[in-house]
Symmetry: C2
Subunit: 429 residues, 2 copies
């Protein structure tokens, strides 16, 4: 379960009441678009999709030979699966993410993989992502060379249900291909086959994950006083003048979650509003307690230009009692006999207080524990928060027009026919 | 080698000349403190320390049995080694970083390690770091249980040459302990045994690394026109009104480098200046091309509140030609036959132009290649930049007073004698 703590933000209950109309208005506008496929709100329905869950499970069971899972995908195709797999991998299947185009690590990976035990999953909604296509060329060629006629068993695609180069490849070659619903965008796709397929191979509890997300849906539509998503939306809305939004997670298992949030927040909300004004805040990823030794100095004594959200588990799934070691009584005696989790909790609580004392705006989201249920809830909650903020800030949270120029320039530099004119840009300095 | 590109920052050569006096003044003030041990400028001398290099090498050669290297350390004790080991591990020794206090991943690690093949390296300058001591209790106990009398062979310490609990433990038990020079702080310690010892086990070319750092020292003291460090210092100084400093690296092998930079920059410069004013900018880590699919939308269309530095390799150490795959001509034909590195280069160049076109302030540091020499140069260059900025901004770049309250509150919450009064804080809202 998720619990919001705003103890250092005075008068929040009153402020919430005062903004009730605006928040419920944003909710209403968002939900009115729910049936419009172009509104890209399919992520709301993913937690109910038990049919896809069954398919993914059947595919996993039909392929018990997999020991290495190679995900070819970038951005929304990789950040969600990576965050959840790192947290919940219980199967021992090794995961490798080719979410880059640096040759040396790809070569190193190819030299260590056993092709007979490797499943390659190429993931791209559009089927046109340059990085993913480049990686696919390399791995397709490798599989054909190493596995001959058997190569098709080792490749599974996740892409648009109808369009694009990956869908066409699947149909031509008779490859298994899972569908990303048309009305689900990359950064909102973690509970589609983009995330579910790798997580099935990781042995994660997918039912609990989806159950948590369904709970988030319920809460996001609850009355204001119980509506966690509208409440955190308001916190971000009230602090939109602060340029930096810190997302600091107190869990090593969730170490890749901040990167997922950064994409969700930055790419959804960092854009021009209807008047052409530049809006958005810059999300900064942080991990506790490591960043107490890296970023907290700045958070405490640097500019008061941040809204800081801590994500803190309330109990361990398994604790580790700290042993007494003779000779270390003086420096470490205060730790003897305590559970390691108690140190984690104390550090999170101390940091929360210290940041508030410094004058930074800070709140905490408590996760009951780092479980698929609680994390599924958290992910879906953050998607609701992002969608609500899009309504309040007057931006379309589901497009990314700002990345088009970079894509065109890349293709021009690579000499792709039709892009010749895009190689140079006008810089107004 | 390192090369600075400021093509989108008009008139930079003239601006550099105009600020020459201020920059050389900062340099002079900094260097005047070089002989003062309290000034913590020992990092300048580390690249010359061939004696430590020999010791580290001898220790590595005396322990050829190591297959798993477990580093217990947090913040500056982990970020540098992790960044370099990920880039240059050629030995196949597996590295594990216990830079957190979450019980479950520690338990998982203990269950998979073979104690006979494991070397544990506890790293803490002060010997009082709570997270590192907690981890040490766990691993000491484990080694004694698993290895009996042999446990001492499996533990090596890296700490202050004289003081602290780790130094005392080493002396009492006759453990091997490497010294972090007294005048070297955690975030400036990567070229001390903090980094060199793990990197020796990773099989990295330590001589090339130090040679690159020596080159950085030479350049940081060169005349202004050749002085890369004073030049990038000026870029950051001129843009200090922008709250966000993006550090975006186009190399998967250097994926942990941004986190190292974030600590160096934020913890050194995010503090109160002599007048008590809050200074510093917030460093944001980014990786190319993955963040083109995550953060670049915000960088292009969101607020113009950023200085963006790209770090881009100019050539691969080994390239991977993209094969032609029948059936993918239409979508991927433009990639056929090209080296994968060419895609990386085109994306970096396209992003550079697209960010400038959007009106963001952006410059590029080119690395000749991702080699120990070039990366050693880069790290030491960034330390010079940070030290110079400390002088210009009127802060001590080598302390971290802002983290003390959090530490005291943690100890109070854990009931350590002597800290009882610190448990509650006054929040002025």
């Amino acid at each position: 379960m998720l619990r919001l703590d705003t103890r250092f933000l005075k008068d929040f209950p009153e402020v919430l009441k005062a903004h009730g109309t605006a928040l419920l208005g944003a909710q209403e506008t968002l939900l009115a678009k729910r049936k419009d496929p172009g509104a890209m709100l399919g992520w709301m329905d993913l937690p109910e999709d038990t049919e896809t869950l069954r398919e993914v499970r059947r595919f996993r069971e039909a392929n018990p030979w997999v020991e290495d899972f190679v995900l070819l995908g970038i951005g929304g195709s990789a950040l969600g699966p990576k965050a959840l797999e790192a947290a919940f991998n219980g199967s021992g299947v090794r995961f490798h993410y080719v979410d880059h185009v640096e040759p040396e690590p790809v070569l190193k990976l190819l030299r260590t993989l056993d092709p007979r035990k490797t499943l390659v999953n190429a993931v791209s909604k559009s089927g046109a992502t340059a990085e993913t296509l480049a990686a696919l060329l390399v791995f397709l060629d490798w599989l054909k060379r190493e596995r001959g006629q058997e190569w098709r068993r080792h490749l599974v695609l996740t892409t648009d249900p109808k369009r694009g180069a990956l869908r066409a490849l699947a149909e031509r070659e008779g490859l298994r291909a899972f569908a990303i619903p048309e009305n689900v965008g990359g950064r909102f796709s973690v509970l589609s086959p983009v995330g579910l397929l790798p997580l099935a191979f990781a042995g994660a509890d997918l039912e609990a994950l989806l159950m948590g997300a369904r709970k988030a849906n319920e809460v996001a539509l609850a009355p204001l006083e119980q509506n966690l998503s509208l409440q955190t939306t308001l916190l971000h809305h009230l602090h939109r003048h602060l340029p930096v939004t810190v997302f600091m997670v107190y869990s090593e298992r969730l170490k890749y979650l901040p990167a997922w949030f950064v994409q969700l927040h930055d790419e959804s909300l960092g854009k021009r509003d209807r008047e052409g004004k530049r809006v958005g805040t810059t999300a900064v990823p942080a991990l506790g307690p490591a960043d107490q030794h890296a970023q907290v100095q700045l958070f405490r004594e640097g500019p008061l230009d941040k809204l800081i959200q801590l994500v803190v588990p309330e109990r361990p799934t398994e604790d580790l009692p700290l042993p007494e070691v003779a000779g270390l009584e003086e420096e470490a005696g205060y730790l003897f006999g305590k559970g390691l989790f108690r140190l984690l909790s104390a550090e999170a609580e101390a940091t929360y207080r210290a940041l508030a004392e410094a004058g930074q705006r800070v709140y905490t989201l408590y996760l009951s524990e780092v479980s698929p249920y609680a994390v599924g809830w958290l992910l879906q909650h953050l998607m609701w928060q992002t969608a609500y903020l899009g309504e309040l800030w007057g931006v379309n949270a589901f497009d990314q027009p700002g990345v088009e120029l970079g894509k065109r320039l890349t293709l021009a530099l690579l000499g792709r026919p039709g892009y010749e004119g895009d190689g140079s840009v006008e810089i107004s300095s």
